[in-house]
Amino acid sequence: MYPFLDLVNLTTVSAGIALIGTAGIIMLPKPIDKVIMLGILEAGFIGMIVAAKYLDVAMAGAIFDPISTIIMLIAITKINEIREKKIKSQEEGFFA
């Protein structure tokens, strides 16, 4: 009766979320926005693993993905500090 309602299952919704996350990572220019969109991409991927009924793999992925996100956030803040320090030292006339 409603044939397009067959498309609403976990696999298709997860694929849509993963494609939205991919488009966001590619289009958005700032690194913080990219990290947020990477979270959406990983969410779609974990939904796809759950749709394949590999719940142990989903557990491993759910443990490793936030580690990668935290590493990226630490690196982004640190590299931002370094660049600001470089700009400030160039304005004051010192060499970095």
Partner: protein
């Protein structure tokens, strides 16, 4: 009529559709992510290039998922996290030293 159709092939169409959705989404992610890593917007910055590298990694994981390579999938997820750690650490270190990246 509906009962007969459900009894003849209960989940066959759905499961095949699932496998094709996994495989084609993985292929799209690998190709688009690789192109975005090479010539994407703002890719002069090595941090942005490293974050773009995560897209083909997720695509390859989806292709592993299609062929039921479970142990390869777990190992690849762990290796991607460790590679991200090492690459970003190296980038921060080089930026600290003032090298031309």
């Amino acid at each position: 009529m509906k009962y007969v159709r459900k009894k003849s092939n209960p989940r066959r169409k759905d499961s095949l559709l699932d496998v094709y959705v996994w495989f084609y989404t993985g292929c799209i992610l690998v190709i688009v992510g690789s192109i975005a890593t090479v010539i994407g917007p703002g890719v002069k910055d090595p941090v942005i290039r490293t974050i773009n590298t995560e897209i083909p990694a997720v695509g390859i994981s989806m292709i592993f998922l299609t062929y039921n390579h479970t142990i390869a999938l777990v190992t690849f997820i762990a290796a991607t996290a460790i590679i991200t750690l090492i690459l970003l650490r190296a980038i921060v270190r080089l930026e600290e030293m003032g090298a031309e990246l």
